[in-house]
């Protein structure tokens, strides 16, 4: 899949100045993400958010982590694309070195990606970082 990279996303969002445009962008990203077939919506891949479900499957290939994610809510799916841009197809070292907080701050999606929001995004970030640490060890 052709994901935009983090710099492209930061640039794109910077260009959009009202919330409608910004969220339309996130929604469109979410729709473009291939997601996972229904058969892969398994309990073992589920990362529970309070309001929507997120599934995460990872595999290692050529020292890089490949991530496959899906959500039943399209905005969460779009937000997952932001995370994928940072973490998909990267080495554990790249993942752990990436300043995710600074990235989120630059995206300026207000309170959407704060830990108190029950959309599972922080849980995904934590899980990917954990996977990266594990595969490094």
């Amino acid at each position: 899949m052709n994901l935009p990279n983090t710099d492209e996303i930061i640039d794109d969002l910077e260009f959009l100045d009202n919330w409608e445009q910004r969220y339309q962008y996130i929604i469109d990203l979410g729709k473009a993400l291939p997601g996972l077939p229904e058969s892969q919506h398994k309990e073992e891949y589920l990362v529970r958010g309070c309001q929507s479900n997120v599934w995460l499957i990872s595999e290692e290939k050529d020292d890089k982590l490949l991530l496959h994610v899906d959500s039943d809510a399209v905005i969460v799916q779009g937000l997952l694309t932001l995370v994928m841009a940072a973490y998909h197809d990267k080495t554990p070292e790249q993942i752990l070195a990436f300043d995710i907080d600074n990235y989120f701050a630059q995206l300026d999606l207000e309170n959407h990606i704060t830990p108190t929001r029950g959309n599972g995004l922080r849980a995904i970030v934590g899980k990917v970082q954990q996977l990266a640490k594990h595969s490094q060890a």
Binding site: W19, E20, Y23, Q24, I27, G49, C50, Q51, S52, N53, D72, A73, V74, I75, V76, E110, H112, G118, N119
Partner: protein, 405 residues
């Protein structure tokens, strides 16, 4: 007489703030209601003028705090038409009230006994009884709902048996807004000698409650859904049932005599209220009830029904929107799903427009499964909401629909 909603809104400071740069449209009242200035003032006044521990101080402030605290109990007792004020037991909220009763019932349940609940339970009135049954070997029977979200009354009667020892049901469903005919159902359960508990978390917010008229043994509710503070709630129980109810917390305040090896319990309500209570919360709740009682209950009801009627009408005109819960007898809640949109997406996009609703399973996972939905978006209305806000809700929903299309 109609309610002067503009004047009512003036009394709620929080309704004047902006959220995401838009005037707040607060439609999450089934989760918690906002607080009028009178309640905020009562809390401030208590802490600035009167704070002292109750029932034991040998000084002026303690006497005054005790008077205000016990007057609050009287206010609640009158509001729900208790026989006597000793029947009003302070709790932290509905959940604690139900847990206290379920734990007491669990001590008396045995294998073969049956406890009856409904398919529309909030987890607080389901997990409690499920666990009480697991501990005791009793079985949990679940009364189904009809497709419209009303309770299947025939099934209620047929599941009620000579083995039914306890029935617990919601007065009003938090997820669907369905009003249950609790008086009729209580009478049927009492005819089988079962004890009856009503989960009044939603019921208490929509008009005066008369526990004697309902005829139940227990009625539990939370202060914060009734314009009062969080952390204070009420378990009402009939005196006859409460007087030998198993004590749930032991310690100070609840005893009569104590030796190193033994203790005897005090009288109601103290025997069920160990420790220093939430004094400010009780006084704040009484202030909320006093505030609410300046309005005519019929006017409040008419206003809430007008809000729901308008919301229902606009919902029916919205393409792709399905209302979840169509019971003839419902109040306060419009639960819905939109084709091709997850409830969380709707919630996010409404929030960006300053509109607060609840999305998700509403602490009723088995009910959502029964209805075959992942959750719903829920707008819930109360005394200070306006017809204009209902319009804003649907402008918001339509915008969300277009963005998600």
């Amino acid at each position: 007489m109609n309610l002067n909603v503009a004047q009512i809104r003036e009394q709620f400071p929080i309704l004047h703030r902006e959220v995401n740069g838009k005037p707040l449209v607060y439609l999450d009242n089934a989760a918690t209601t906002q607080k009028p200035q009178a309640v905020i003032d009562a809390l401030t006044d208590y802490y600035t003028q009167c704070n002292a521990n109750v029932h034991r101080g040998a000084h002026y402030l303690s006497d005054e705090a005790t008077r205000r605290y016990e007057a609050a109990r009287k206010t609640v007792a009158d509001y729900i038409h208790a026989n006597r004020q000793e029947e009003v037991i302070w709790t932290s909220g509905t959940t604690e009230g139900i847990n206290r009763v379920a734990n007491g019932v669990a001590q008396r349940l045995k294998a073969g006994d049956e406890v009856l609940v409904t398919e529309m339970e909030h987890h607080a009135n389901l997990v409690t009884w499920q666990q009480a049954c697991k501990r005791s070997g009793a079985s949990l029977k679940v009364v189904p709902i009809n497709e419209d979200g009303s309770l299947n009354i025939e099934q209620f009667h047929s599941l009620l048996s000579d083995n039914t020892v306890f029935v617990s049901m919601p007065h009003i469903s938090n997820a669907l807004g369905t009003i249950n005919p609790v008086k009729e159902l209580t009478a049927a359960a009492k005819a089988k000698d079962a004890l009856v508990m009503i989960d009044g978390a939603q019921g208490v917010a929509h008009g005066a409650i008369d526990v004697q008229d309902i005829g139940c043994d227990f009625y539990a509710f939370s202060g914060h859904k009734l314009f009062g503070p969080t952390g204070i709630g009420v378990l009402w129980g009939s005196y006859e049932v409460l007087q030998d109810w198993p004590v749930w917390l032991v310690g100070g305040e609840m005893i009569a005599t104590v030796s190193y090896q033994d203790a005897t319990w005090g009288e109601l309500p103290n025997r069920l209220e160990a420790g220093t209570p939430n004094i400010a919360g009780a006084i704040g709740l009484a202030a909320a009830i006093d505030w609410l009682q300046q309005f005519d209950a019929a006017d409040i009801l008419a206003h809430e029904q007008a809000l729901l009627a308008k919301a229902t009408k606009l919902a029916e005109q919205t393409d792709g929107l399905t209302i979840v819960g169509h019971a003839d007898n419902k109040i306060g809640v419009l639960s819905f799903i939109l084709d091709g949109a997850h409830p969380a997406d709707i919630g996010f996009l409404l929030d960006k427009q300053g509109i607060a609703i609840r999305t998700g399973d509403h602490c009723a996972q088995p009910l959502m499964k029964r209805l075959k939905v992942p959750g719903t978006a829920r707008a819930s209305f109360t005394i200070y909401n306006t017809l204009d806000e209902v319009d804003k809700l649907f402008e918001g929903i339509n915008k969300a629909r277009l963005m998600l299309a």
